[in-house]
């Protein structure tokens, strides 16, 4: 899994181009790409997104992942990313290692098919990112 952070000299589209051309190229085995775009303007904002690899044609898998809109860096958020466990442990023969199960919140992305049920997928709350970056914007 790759986390790419862009603040100033990399536009929002450049992030996706990096994911397609570089991280998800045929020469890599990156399965999950998480992008963070930080903005200094308007008191500090950020956008987050994640995408999965297209296992056949490489590049970004169409329809995979999720993206957020502009989020204020000073306003708490309950958005969470649910990243499939099978993608993170790609290449590992089953059974996969046990992982902690959590119940995703109501604003989890992508929305779970059965809300309120625990999942052992990786749940990344954007609130942790916001708290960490808040003092640097």
């Amino acid at each position: 899994m790759v986390i790419e952070v862009s603040k100033t000299h990399e536009s929002y589209n450049d992030l996706f181009n990096d994911a397609t051309i570089k991280h998800f190229s045929a020469q890599t085995s990156v399965q999950v790409w998480v992008g963070v775009k930080l903005y200094d303007g308007h008191g500090g904002r950020f956008r987050c997104m994640f995408r999965l690899r297209d296992p056949i044609n490489n590049g970004i898998l169409a329809g995979s992942g999720a993206s957020t809109d502009f989020l204020s860096i000073h306003q708490p958020t309950n958005i969470e990313f649910i990243i499939p466990k099978s993608q993170i442990y790609w290449g590992v023969n089953p059974p996969l290692p046990p992982t902690r199960s959590v119940v995703p919140g109501p604003n989890a992305l992508p929305p779970p098919q059965a809300p309120g049920t625990p999942t052992d997928d990786l749940v990344l709350p954007l609130e942790e990112l916001r708290e960490a970056v808040e003092s640097y914007l």
Partner: protein, 352 residues
């Protein structure tokens, strides 16, 4: 190590070892070579010194860094404003949640208010081409409707043209940029984009960026690796750590700020707890790097490599119990380029 069967290098004026020892290099006896002894073996360092390439490259990097720092505010504001306008107009909802990715699917035709496709009306006919003069490159690219990949892939945008007039910012145009215009015929009927294979017709965008790109210099891969391994690329500029990327033989300088590291490390605790099943399971994931603070990389990557700083220049003995010797092979650990490159006369550090 010296092979007696091979002729040792001798020069009429002075040997390479003499020249090296005079310049402060470590001593070494001879050079393994099977070429004509009269030939002069020029190490890459001498080539760079003679042509002053090392100083030129470092000067160009400094200029690129200054350009990054100078254009920091304006570029960010423009970027923010542009994306805000796109979000308000709802014309490009491509990055909303669970939407198909634009790179995998060609953009569909935009329809006007009356339901007609504007591209068909703007499509120049053959007669128009015969009557009118041959359109310029810019015009011809503008008249190509269905091969226009969209504003995000507009290789002939006004911004690019504006920058191309500036000789300082001029970069060699990628071959596919011209190829795209050559392959496009404005008169033949074009199939509907959805009928074509979107994977084959995937638009390609050059990844070379102008921000942080070292101008007027192209770096072959071997040269880039040589400079990287020799440590000729500066690591730090003020409080910024510099990272380098070779993109289409263009050297791109990346500057990581504390915000980058804070964002990249913000999920470390969450990921660690998740992969260890609340602390009871074995660690199965590890962090391999980040942008700015490099010592944390060692801490998170492998605790046994913290003592690497004290072992510079030493080769661990495998028969002795050392945590470094327990590192399994087959894992791409971050290499210590500057310190692990063996100099002449120095055994250097061998990465596992």
């Amino acid at each position: 190590m010296f092979n007696d069967h091979l002729p040792a290098f001798k020069n009429n004026s002075q040997t390479t070892s003499q020249r090296r020892s005079r310049r402060g290099y470590g001593q070494f006896q001879s050079v393994l070579t099977s070429v004509d002894p009269a030939w002069e073996v020029i190490p890459p360092e001498d080539i760079f010194v003679k042509k002053k390439l090392k100083a030129k490259v470092q000067k160009a990097i400094d200029e690129a860094v200054k350009a990054i720092l100078a254009g920091e505010e304006s570029s960010q504001d423009e970027d923010s404003k542009l994306e805000e306008v796109n979000a308000r107009n709802h014309r490009v909802p491509r990055f909303s949640s669970n939407q198909p990715e634009f790179l995998a699917l060609r953009p569909s035709r935009r329809e006007t208010d009356d339901g007609t496709c504007p591209h068909t009306s703007n499509l120049p006919l053959e007669t128009q081409q015969t009557e009118a003069k041959q359109p310029s490159r810019h015009q011809s690219s503008r008249l190509v409707p269905l091969h226009e990949p969209g504003p995000q892939f507009d290789l002939d945008s006004d911004e690019d043209n504006h920058n191309s007039t500036d000789p300082d910012n001029e970069l060699p145009a990628p071959a596919r940029k011209t190829q795209r215009n050559q392959n496009v015929s404005t008169t033949e009927p074009l199939a509907h984009p959805l009928e074509q294979n979107p994977l084959v017709e995937r638009p390609i965008k050059p990844t070379t960026r102008r921000a942080g790109c070292v101008q007027n210099m192209l770096f072959p891969l071997e040269t880039f690796r040589l400079m990287q391994e020799r440590g000729w690329l500066p690591d730090v500029c003020d409080s910024y750590r510099l990272g380098y990327e070779l993109d289409h033989n263009h050297l791109i300088v990346h500057m990581a700020s504390p915000a980058h590291d804070a964002a990249a490390n913000s999920w470390n605790g969450t990921i660690t707890l998740w992969c260890t099943n609340g602390g009871t399971g074995a660690q199965t994931l590890r962090q391999v790097g980040q942008g700015r603070i490099i010592h944390l990389r060692y801490t998170y990557a492998d605790i046994s490599r913290i003592s690497m700083v004290c072992r510079i220049g030493k080769v661990p003995r495998p028969e002795l119990p050392s945590p470094r010797n327990n590192v399994p092979t087959g894992i791409n650990y971050p290499r210590y380029h500057r310190r692990s490159i063996p100099e002449y006369g120095d055994r250097g550090l061998q990465d596992p």
